[in-house]
Symmetry: C2
Subunit: 264 residues, 2 copies
């Protein structure tokens, strides 16, 4: 427990300018760290076995996390909420943060071992959507998540928070290869079903009917799936919608698709 | 078309400090206005019949909305993107804004006329969730939305944006009375089904089975439904989830429930 009263203290470097997405991306990559925010998510990160580098807390959050802090040698920096706001650049509503070490990415083999239903995310750029999809996938019976090389980071603070820590308990990794990712999944015994508005798309219930190992493929918020992934998936599916409505949000569509797929 | 180069120009009063939620709430209430953001949403607001007070645009958005601007006498203030940021307090990615007149709220009778499936939101406080729920409801076959007195404003800029303007085309209103809202819906011939984790909750498919006029009732993000609404709804339902997972995000749960309910 280390009380700090100088917001410029170099020990707080992991926690600076949390709203500056570009700065955070390079800082977190260079140091191999990620941040967990909020009592519940901080707890889940440590309980999932991620090694903490340090904690940053306002005094009133110490009690709730006392048992967790007792399990680790990592320093806990204690600052007033006003100082936390100076360091991080915003008001941390649930004034508990942790900086944790990232782990080496798992191999695709490891992530797929034993999985029957996996989500495959192409170039989703919005951390909120990535987090929401991890959460829905975990709740609705999906076993693993694969990310295309340009998909947003699921260990980014915002992804973790929206996902309520589902990224800690769901096996996931990056796909090393974008171009052949879906044929590769097919070779591994997965039926690839892409959620996309194409001419031969069928309702999702029909697309997953009778499928054993399922890879549900999702494209970016704006442009949808790449033509390569659309063409190289074995089946294309839609969520049936009311006439005249253009689309569902990708996180909402994923929740519906996961619900339907889990009942196949 | 009015070019403005002074960010302090009083004609820009409708567009000030868009990130200051409390200030915006009182300003919008006092003046009976709301803001639409982004080319698509601005277009939908006017096409839905809301009367514009004014528009605020960066020069490059004029072309895309030229046809719409030609239909109205409301002034269009043209500012550089840097000046727009000074006025609004943030970088407007899609540099088109409109300020529009609110309309008197419809009566509950009007909103329910002809509706077979309605969403009833209790105290959702997050504008993003309210917007996402309007969008999913519209896409997945719901006809109307009723809001408890303390539910967040669906005409708040963020709600409209996330909902992609679904609030303009979906009949909605405020419930005048919180306490008897659900018994009142039952008297009007709706079966009230609350999405809530209670001891007698049944899977959503079972809860909506055979229901003709359906009122799907949703509680707040944090605390869920009030005990009054939980007890005064006729049926209680859950989205079946994997063991050990506590909950879905309310917007994801709503999307699943709407999908299932529309297939009843």
């Amino acid at each position: 427990m280390v009380e700090i009263s100088d917001p410029g203290d170099p020990r707080l470097a992991d926690y600076r300018d949390l709203r500056d997405v570009e700065l955070r991306k390079s800082l977190e990559a260079e140091h191999g760290l990620f941040l967990a925010e909020g009592e519940k998510v901080v707890r889940r990160s440590v309980e999932a076995g991620y090694a903490p580098r340090s904690f940053l807390m306002a005094p009133r959050w110490l009690d709730g996390l006392g048992d967790l802090l007792a399990t680790t040698d990592a320093p806990c920096y204690v600052l007033s909420e006003a100082l936390i706001e100076q360091v991080t650049g915003f008001h941390v509503h649930r004034g508990a943060l942790a900086s944790l070490h990232r782990r080496p990415l798992a191999s695709v083999e490891e992530v797929l071992a034993g999985a029957r239903s996996v989500l495959v995310l192409e170039d989703l750029v919005d951390h909120t959507n990535v987090g929401a999809i991890f959460r829905s996938g975990a709740a609705l019976g999906f076993d693993a998540v694969l990310l295309a090389p340009r998909c947003a980071d699921p260990l980014y603070r915002r992804s973790i928070k929206v996902g309520m820590g589902a990224v800690f308990t769901t096996p996931w990794t990056r796909l090393p290869d974008w171009y052949d990712a879906l044929p590769d999944l097919a070779r591994r015994g997965f039926t690839t079903v892409a959620l996309t508005l194409s001419a031969d798309s069928v309702p999702i219930e029909e697309a997953v009917d009778g499928v054993d190992r399922l890879a549900l493929v999702l494209g970016s918020e704006g442009h949808g799936l790449s033509s390569r992934w659309e063409a190289s998936s074995e089946r294309r599916a839609i969520i049936p919608m009311r006439a005249g409505i253009d689309s569902l949000n990708v996180a909402a569509a994923t929740a519906v698709a996961c619900y339907v797929a889990t009942r196949r």
